[in-house]
């Protein structure tokens, strides 16, 4: 066998060592354990990948039976096919780089060992999620990464905003997970199993309505985890966590779990056309919506957070129009360039002594040249400039969208233009002009720019050389040729280039222009700047009624009124009756004796009237 269990086990051992002993270990050993375990897992993934012959059937390993109840049987099963392999490579590869980066970034932070213990635990759950051979084990990983996300968002737990953001992420994800659980129940009821192989083998024969219901409920789960409309609100707040966490969990790996899950369930989705259409529309809507918010943000991490939401929307668009492999391709290239953008942002924040507001940056090209040039690669990749990685995958998705419905393509192109604009706006505000902050900015240490350089290479050539649709052609059919494909390509490149040019004009050439536009737009700008007031709307429509209802109905009426009323009432009534009864307790023995005699007389009289004892 290929010892698949070793892949998640390695980070788990790292978690145990750092989590239990970390407090007493020197930083060098914590670093070695944390990074070493993930790098070893990466090496093992590569070895497994080379040792497989990659036939049509996935490699399957059954370790033990976890739940057995009648015919229902869930095993601790790992299964690995090309899709899993790609995910494993992304998770362990990008994960290793971010771990190494974090050793530099977190150097002066409190709770160093705690951070790496959580990070390793996250890797364990993420790898379990990806390797799982059935829905329940996938759900274990799914919940586990959610837990680690919560722990790491709230890493700076003395900050109120960080703990609130952690709670928000956790609670919003509960809604999605509720949908996921319902989907699993439906699968169990209709298929009698949660095993991927058996479910997917039986799925084509099931009624469309059931498959649609399952697919839509799975989508609810995916919108929670992958931050799609209407559950995306937690991701921008999740930026309260340390920047390596934003890069690893909230950009490269965990948030793409929803896309992976949809691609994994491709058989169910392709047999449920309505669900597919819903996925595409939600993806597209999220892409546009988040991109417009990204245009007006000033916090560098918030810009990239909305950009992540928007790019995840692209992936769902790809999945929804049936281009599963294009969605996974974008997942991979996005992992490269978005991890790079976040790590670069972290490097910038590090350089500016913790400043995150881009209005207080500028001119950093001179002070942090390596960060600048690596970020240029990422920004070109996300803008869809050939031959950078993002171009290939985005183009594949847009072409598939055009084949599905041309209007989706055009919306996608406009979004691509906006994406290019706001990412390059961030670049120009950060690296060009004069330094507007305080203190003296400096370049980051090598442990930080080393991973940046590797990711920059991947963001540059990773799209062309790692052609995912080609690799996955056995699982998902290659996209069909679309007439006028080169025309579509030129249009999307133009949109990206135009976005960069406008950003350059507004933020380098004519720096007074943004101010004018802001004032001329007035209300519209306020709307976008405040993220369409979605948080406020949710607050007014969901959170507040919930709190009000819980306070007045559940707390004051039910808990204090009914439950406390009953309990206290019983106690008070007992005391009242006892107060009456205690009057006969005179302490005088002869009065007691009188009561006894009277009692016996009464008893005897009753017995006599009842006809005596027979």
């Amino acid at each position: 066998m290929h010892k698949l269990w070793l892949i998640p086990a390695l980070p788990f051992i790292g978690f145990l060592i750092n989590g239990i002993l970390g407090r007493k270990l020197p930083k060098a050993i914590i670093n070695a354990v944390a990074c070493g375990s993930v790098v070893l897992a990466f090496i093992w993934v590569v070895l497994v990948g080379m040792g497989c012959d990659w036939g049509a059937t996935p490699l399957h390993a059954h370790y033990f039976t976890w739940i057995k109840s009648g015919v229902f049987n869930v095993g601790w099963d790992f299964s690995i096919d090309k899709l899993t392999m790609i995910m494993l490579m992304i998770v362990t590869g990008v994960g290793s780089l971010i771990h190494i980066y974090a050793t530099g970034y977190m150097e002066h932070e409190e709770g160093y060992y705690r951070f790496f213990a959580y990070l390793n635990l996250f890797m364990y759950f993420m790898l379990t999620l990806v390797l799982a051979g059935n829905y329940l084990l996938l759900f274990v990983g799914w919940e586990g990464v959610g837990l680690c996300s919560y722990l790491l968002i709230g890493f700076y737990f003395v900050k109120k905003s960080a703990t609130t953001a952690g709670n928000k992420a956790f609670i919003v994800n509960r809604i999605g997970d509720f949908g996921f659980s319902l989907a699993m129940f439906l699968i169990v009821v209709n298929f009698g199993t949660l095993d991927f192989r058996r479910v997917f083998a039986a799925a084509p024969g099931k009624p469309v309505e059931i498959l649609t219901a399952i697919a839509l409920l799975l989508l609810v789960g995916a919108t929670g985890k992958s931050a799609q409309i209407p559950l995306y609100v937690w991701l921008p707040d999740a930026m309260e966590g340390p920047t390596p966490v934003s890069a690893l969990i909230h950009a490269a790996t965990m948030v793409t779990a929803g896309v992976y899950m949809c691609a994994r369930s491709a058989v169910i989705f392709t047999h449920a056309p309505i669900a597919m259409e819903t996925v595409a529309i939600i993806g597209l809507a999220t892409a546009v919506f988040a991109a417009t918010i990204g245009l007006a943000q000033n916090d560098i991490k918030k810009v990239f957070a909305y950009s992540t939401v928007s790019q995840l929307g692209y992936m769902f668009l790809g999945v929804g129009v049936g281009a599963f492999s294009a969605g996974i391709w974008h997942l991979m290239t996005h992992a490269f360039f978005k991890a790079l953008l976040f790590l670069g942002a972290g490097s910038v924040i590090h350089a500016c002594h913790g400043e995150q507001d881009m209005r207080h940056m500028g001119g950093l090209k001179k002070y942090a040249p390596i960060t600048f040039w690596t970020l240029v690669c990422a920004a070109l990749a996300i803008a869809g400039v050939p031959p950078f990685a993002g171009f290939w995958s985005k183009d594949a998705i847009l072409t598939a969208a055009f084949a599905h419905a041309p209007w989706m393509y055009w919306v996608g192109v406009i979004t691509a233009g906006m994406t290019a604009f706001y990412v390059w706006r961030a670049m120009f505000m950060t690296f060009f002009g004069e330094y507007r902050g305080h203190g003296h900015p400096h370049e980051s240490p090598m442990s930080m720019w080393g991973p940046l350089a590797v990711l920059a290479v991947l963001s540059t050539v990773g799209g062309y050389f790692l052609n995912v649709p080609q690799m996955l052609s056995g699982m998902f059919p290659l996209p069909e040729e679309v007439p006028g494909e080169s025309m579509l390509m030129i249009v999307s490149i133009t949109a990206g280039g135009l976005g960069i040019l406008i950003a350059w004009y507004m933020y380098v050439v004519n720096t007074a222009l943004p101010e004018k536009i802001t004032t001329s737009l007035g209300g519209l700008y306020t709307l976008v700047y405040n993220k369409y007031f979605v948080d406020e709307i949710y607050d007014a429509t969901v959170v507040r009624p919930l709190i009000e209802g819980s306070t007045t109905v559940l707390w004051h009426a039910v808990d204090q009124g009914v439950i406390d009323g009953t309990v206290n009432g019983v106690g008070l009534e007992s005391r009242r009756i006892g107060g009456v009864l205690k009057l006969i307790q005179s302490g005088n023995i002869r009065s007691y004796a009188t009561w006894v005699v009277l009692g016996s007389v009464v008893l005897l009289l009753i017995m006599g009237f009842a006809g005596g004892v027979h």
Partner: protein
């Protein structure tokens, strides 16, 4: 003499009602003393009196019905009475030591 007649009187011709009357009288004296006397030892003796009144009726019925269970009850009552005497006298001694009184109305700290 028919069997019912044989049961009506005991062997020596004393009717059972006499025994029961004596038992009731003894019991009533016990109750009266228990309720109205103030000396703890007298009260205690009245309890013994009531127990023995009951014993008497037990034995009378046992003889009347030719059944041994009445005797056995009597023995049980005697055993309990003996134990009670031991414990009760000990309590009385302690009460007297602590309070220098045998008046039952003075021992009322369990009030309310």
């Amino acid at each position: 003499m028919n069997p019912a007649g044989a049961l009506a009187t005991l062997n020596n011709g004393v009717p059972i009602s006499w025994y029961l009357t004596l038992s009731a009288v003894l019991f009533a004296i016990g109750v009266a003393g228990f309720l109205f006397r103030r000396n703890i030892i007298t009260v205690f003796m009245c309890i013994e009196l009531m127990l023995n009144a009951v014993n008497l009726s037990f034995v009378a019925f046992a003889h009347q019905h030719r059944e041994v269970s009445g005797h056995i009850f009597t023995f049980f009552v005697m055993v309990v009475a003996a134990a009670e005497a031991a414990v009760g006298l000990a309590i009385i001694l302690t009460v007297f030591k602590n309070r220098s009184t045998l008046n039952i109305d003075d021992v009322d700290t369990l009030k309310n």
